[in-house]
């Protein structure tokens, strides 16, 4: 029973070992040219010290929103992949493939909408002007 879990323990040990080894290797072999920004605590790109009520580009919000949408939607592919063999066994592979392609097409339409409406254009002033014009 317990021996079933040996691969799991092994992979945990390997993961931890690899992480520690790489960190140590980077400390030993890596070049060190520190500056103020590099030495600051990592806060996903924000200034770690100072007021939190700062203005920042609305693009961050947009990208986060798009990420959440596509990230969460793609999770639906996992249960599909897991049950795919059952459907092949039942002779329904064509139907289940058609359904998942439909799903991906719908996601693709979302992406098309996003690109065409300028959701991914960070520097394009044309879209920004159009947006402000509304």
């Amino acid at each position: 029973m317990l021996s079933d879990f040996i691969p799991l323990f092994l992979s945990m040990v390997m993961a931890g070992g690899l992480a520690l080894t790489l960190l140590k290797a980077a400390e030993i072999f890596g070049p060190k040219r520190p500056n103020v920004t590099k030495r600051a605590a990592y806060e996903s790109g924000m200034d770690p010290i100072g007021t939190a009520r700062d203005r920042y580009s609305i693009k961050f919000y947009l990208v986060a929103m798009i990420f959440i949408v596509f990230d969460v939607e793609v999770v639906f592919l996992y249960p599909w992949a897991v049950s795919f063999r059952d459907f092949i066994a039942a002779g329904e592979a064509g139907g289940v493939l058609a359904v998942v392609f439909l799903f991906i097409i719908i996601l693709g339409i979302g992406l098309l909408y996003d690109i065409k409406k300028g959701g991914l254009d960070f520097d394009d002033l044309r879209h920004q002007r159009e947006f402000q014009g509304r």
Binding site: D86, A90, E92, G95, A98, V99, K117, R134
Partner: protein
């Protein structure tokens, strides 16, 4: 699990769910179209064409009995078709009257129309559900689209406020709803509505779980239809949303939520146990909606309270707990949809304050009937029908919900309903008094002149005339009510036979 033939049967059911499939596909087409040709003029009319096509399909399906599709997750045909027709008609009317209105307030985006179509697809799922999960999926699809539509005018403070209120309270009520589903599943062991009575008769599960589940489920439903203790969001949300979309929210979403409530109480829960609860809620809703509406000076707010009151009338029919009561409630929803879309359509055409009607009080519309006779006359139809005057549809609708309630022994409730609808005549007819018998004030003149300069759009006129005409037809031709009642009891018999 045996999956042989799963997709073949799903594929063959696609034809039964034609209007749902059509609306979903057309919604996607509208999104693609809007991506390629930003805010193109044709986008709303694609949606209108799809709705009309789907209505004609559902009219063909309606005479037959309702049958289960998608492995018993949904109903198609029969009363499901009737509910779908209400939803699709509201969609077509809303799309048609929104074009000119949204143009005028400067928010005519292509996304609005695809969101309305997606919301309608969700409403169709909700209104013809046979499983609590289907109810939930439909409810959420509908609600998320409506949250966005409410906050459409995001430069306007009141609009943002109403969208946020709607979203927070709606999400909260969804939580209640989901807990109710979980408890009901724990009590009965099934999510299919038509299997619940058998599970309850078998004595499975505990009483406490069942009553907790039913209570939480009802809270979720009563919130969505804005019945009395859960109505607080309605006035603010309806006042802040763009006017034509308020009309859509107050009719189509209510019709589908009520249809789902009818399906739940009809299929899943035995009648006598919740009758009194719904009757008390109905009485409170009618009294509160009508009494508070009297005090409103803002027209949109008044119509919001009036829609609370009408939710009470529909609940009277449902509280009767008979097939006649249920079909009366569905018929009332059809009439209510026509008159409310019409009333909000008139208000949208008359809106000139530049704040989506939030600051426009009734007196600013003085004497409008002579300047815009079409609007004045059609508003007369809608207001008399909302009050319940014969020979308009509102009268027959009230008869259809009150008569079964008397048969079911709820005479006290009907007395409350009649008294409150008599009180409602004050605030409905006051609109007509202001429209036709009051002379305009001096300071309102410039804005009004500006409004007069912009002609009434063709599509709005057509929708208003069609709504008023249908109200008259429903009022003087009793065959419509009779046939809906008959087909409902027919399908009830067919359902009983399937069981």
């Amino acid at each position: 699990m045996d999956l042989t033939g799963a997709y073949a049967s799903l594929g063959s059911d696609l034809g039964n769910a034609f209007s749902l499939v059509l609306l979903s596909v057309v919604g996607l087409v509208m999104v693609v179209w809007d991506s390629l040709r930003n805010d193109h003029r044709a986008i709303p009319w694609i949606g209108v064409a799809a709705s009309v096509l789907a209505i004609s399909f559902e009219l063909l399906r309606m005479p037959g009995p309702a049958e289960k599709i998608f492995y018993g997750l949904m109903w198609a045909g029969g009363y499901a078709s009737f509910v779908n027709i209400i939803i699709l008609a509201a969609t077509a009317f809303t799309l048609a009257i929104s074009v000119h209105y949204l143009d005028r307030i400067g928010h005519n985006y292509g996304e609005v129309y695809s969101l309305v179509v997606f919301a309608s697809a969700g409403m169709i799922v909700l209104g013809s559900a046979n499983s609590l999960i289907t109810v939930f999926v439909g409810l959420e699809t509908m609600s998320i689209c409506l949250y966005i539509l409410t906050g459409l005018v995001r430069t306007e403070e009141g609009s943002v406020e109403s969208a946020l209120k709607y979203f927070l309270l709606g999400a909260f009520s969804t939580g209640f709803f989901l807990y109710g589903i979980a408890l009901l599943y724990a009590a009965t062991g099934t999510l299919y509505l038509d299997e619940m009575p058998a599970a309850l008769a078998g004595g499975a599960g505990s009483e406490v779980l069942l009553w907790g589940g039913v209570g939480l489920l009802f809270i979720g439903f009563l919130f969505k239809v804005s019945a009395a203790p859960f109505h607080m969001w309605t006035p603010d949300v309806y006042q802040g949303a763009p006017t034509t979309l308020t009309g859509y929210m107050s009719t189509a979403s209510k019709a589908s939520a009520f249809a789902a409530l009818v399906l739940v109480v009809y299929h899943a829960l035995p009648a006598e146990r919740w009758m009194l609860v719904l009757a008390i809620v109905a009485a409170a809703t009618m009294i509160l909606g009508n009494v508070v509406a009297i005090a409103q000076s803002n027209v949109k707010r008044m119509l919001a309270y009036s829609s609370i009151a009408h939710a009470g009338y529909v609940l009277v029919g449902i509280a009767a707990g008979t097939t006649a009561g249920y079909s009366g409630a569905l018929f009332y929803l059809l009439v209510y949809t026509l008159m409310n879309i019409g009333a909000f359509g008139v208000m949208a055409a008359l809106e000139w304050d530049g704040h989506v009607g939030q600051k426009q009080d009734l007196d600013s519309l003085a004497g409008i009937g002579y300047r815009k006779p079409l609007l004045g006359v059609s508003m007369g139809f809608f207001m008399f029908s909302l009050t319940g005057f014969p020979p308009l549809g509102g009268f027959i609708g009230k008869y259809a919900v009150f008569a079964p309630a008397i048969d079911a022994g709820l005479t006290w409730l009907v007395i409350v309903g009649l008294l409150t609808s008599a009180a409602s005549a004050y605030y409905y007819l006051r609109v007509l008094y202001v429209f036709w018998m009051k002379s305009p004030e001096e300071e309102a003149a410039p804005a009004l002149d500006q409004l007069m300069a912009s002609p009434l759009s063709m599509s709005t006129s057509v929708v208003l005339v069609v709504c008023a005409g249908l109200l008259l037809v429903l009022g003087i031709y009793p065959g419509v009510l009779e046939s809906t009642t008959l087909f409902f009891s027919d399908s009830a018999a067919a359902v009983a036979a399937i069981r």
